[in-house]
Point group: C2
Chain length 386, copies 2
């Protein structure tokens, strides 16, 4: 099994791309990533996407994007794991290179949500939940998260306002990211007054529907040393799963899939949470960020929020999260998000994160959560000189 | 890179499963395959599926099926490549085992189409075509095939009736397959009189909407020798792609993606068409079967139909196709089809195909076509004692 490295990254700005179709969006990200990697060919292209069939009237994205990116003929598929689809495609690309079946692989995450009606977007994202036992009962994904948040507040005695630091941190960082959807700061006071979306989740505690694409180029670590001035090794790549329906979980406030996924990735990389310099987590809303911090070993049960309240999630904190804005401020184009996270970790490890640079970042982690935690995928990236 | 083998197979009957949900269907196939492989655990599960989001109100099938199959916690995703989704999932499972990242992998293809309205099924399968340049112009998938068939007839001087042998052969074989959807013979006379679906494709020249699931269990070839009394090696596994829209192809009557995919698979396996004892091809309609035979090297350009007319596609012919009924008679539950094909090749190579047994079959090939040929995936399977 070969070591795998990221040798190129690309991303589009996240916004309402009403003037750009799905294939063009993907193409833009792939072109930037291939130019960054200084390659003109690839052996395979994998697409992370969740909603193109329901919101963009198109399946079969593998061949479509390969063709539009000038890679007609190469192996190509779409990979879907709900909101973790981008990370799943990265996992697949990693296997392709690790196996030796491909030498250079492009992985692109793309989602185009905003051409659809808001109600259709809510219905479509509910496809990540258990169709029979959650969605069919009228529970969209945000409502599942809201129930988890309410339970967390009840169980550990937190107030609604205690969740504000996640949004404040994300927006503070997103402000400096030219690819972010929301480039303005928000205050705890604004958080307190924000309109309710699904009680207790309010507008400043949830990610918005948006369009975007991000891409990475992978090669074997040996080839990467030759091809790239700053290759980043994929030291850990691991998936964990759990029940889709929250009511079937061992404990609704423990993301078992994240525990499994993080433990497997740490084992592969030979590191632990204390070694991680930054953590791009899945802050679709504050509660998922808190549960992710706990499952990945950065905080004890019920203490994830405490880290945020104590200022430890900022760039200078002990576990910087959402360093380029996270799902909240950079944006959450569902199937693309996992690749945006990987791209941002690479930016940090290359030392090119500008005003948001985590000092001397050598090991970064990205974690994507599918649905309310049924699929969790963790990647640990490492500077190859470290 | 490790050699990979199939150690277990399972399939449900294909029909209108109005009494069985998506997860139960998948579970049934997985249970049979795991029992056949004599394993109770696996490291990963990959799901081939195209239409669950649009026709069955459910995405996130990886974790869903893993959980329902008693594999909660394992790595799991869904893979989509239109009508080749099942084959794509098999390709992914092959990479996972080949890379050493997984030792035992379950691959399941599942599709549940018949709970939806017929018009919705037509719209959903059109997601395999180019959304902007084909579907949006009112061309469903069968219409693209119909245009190709008309062109083939014009170019090479065939009559409509010349396509009958594909349907006659498929139904003759499907009759003996207990998992097949249509277990009755059809005659060339019935073909001539069948109701038109999309001129010149008629009812007996097209596969019906249906539900079904099929599964295989993979292990390394070394482990397979210990675990299985009759392991079947995956000697070739390769993908080729092309433009989604037919008008952009080099030649509409040459499936370049199939040429690429077959050539790559032959190269990996070190065999050629003359070595293949049976060929499970993608006979969604006769024209695609003919084009597949040509692209895979069994016939020259324009001569694929000739093979059928000369009786060479039957069990005793030089290239037996659709040996268990094919897409036409066994059925075409879109995302499951690629796994049904693999299961049937294994049945043949194990010598357990009953009345449809190809004598002394040692090497079998399966080929899935996504859309009208934008993704083509070829697997070459081989008895490990050969």
């Amino acid at each position: 099994m070969r070591d795998v490295a990221i040798i190129g990254i690309g991303q589009t700005q996240i916004r309402e791309h009403w003037d750009t179709g799905l294939r063009q969006l993907a193409l833009q990200a792939v072109q930037v990533a291939m130019a960054d990697a200084n390659v003109t060919q690839a052996d395979a292209l994998y697409v992370g996407n969740m909603l193109s069939g329901t919101l963009a009237d198109q399946e079969h994205l593998g061949a479509l994007v390969a063709d539009s990116a000038g890679l007609r003929g190469v192996e190509a598929f779409k990979v879907e794991a709900a909101c973790a689809s981008g990370a799943a495609a990265l996992r697949m690309g990693t296997m392709a290179v690790a196996s030796g079946m491909a030498n250079v692989v492009v992985v692109v995450g793309v989602e185009k949500m905003t051409d659809a009606l808001a109600s259709d977007i809510t219905t479509a994202t509910a496809l990540a939940t258990d169709g029979d036992y959650e969605a069919a009962q009228g529970l969209p994904l945000v409502a599942v998260h809201a129930l988890l948040m309410r339970r967390y507040m009840h169980e550990y005695g937190y107030s609604h306002q205690d969740f504000a630091p996640f949004a404040v941190n994300a927006h503070r960082n997103g402000k400096n990211n030219p690819h972010a959807m929301f480039r303005f700061p928000v205050t705890a006071e604004q958080f307190a007054k924000a309109q309710m979306v699904c009680d207790p989740i309010n507008l400043l505690d949830s990610s918005a529907a948006c369009d975007g694409a991000a891409a990475v180029v992978l090669a074997s670590a040996d080839a990467a040393r030759v091809l790239s001035p700053a290759p980043i090794r994929i030291a850990g790549s691991a998936v964990g799963t759990d029940t889709l329906a929250v009511h079937d979980r061992r404990d609704p406030l423990v993301l078992d899939a994240a525990v499994l996924s993080a433990r497997r990735a740490y084992g592969q990389a030979g590191v632990g949470p204390q070694d991680v310099d930054l953590f791009e987590l899945h802050d679709a809303c504050g509660i998922m960020a808190a549960l992710s911090l706990e499952a990945a070993g950065f905080a004890d049960k019920g203490q994830g929020l405490r880290l945020a309240l104590e200022g430890e999630i900022g760039i200078e904190g002990c576990v910087p999260v959402a360093t380029m804005g996270g799902l909240k401020a950079r944006g959450h184009p569902v199937g693309a998000t996992g690749i945006y996270q990987a791209v941002e970790v690479v930016q940090q490890l290359r030392g090119l994160a500008g005003a948001n640079q985590v000092p001397d970042a050598r090991i970064g982690m990205a974690q994507s959560i599918g649905g309310s935690g049924a699929t969790v995928i963790t990647h640990i990236l490492q500077r190859m000189d470290s």
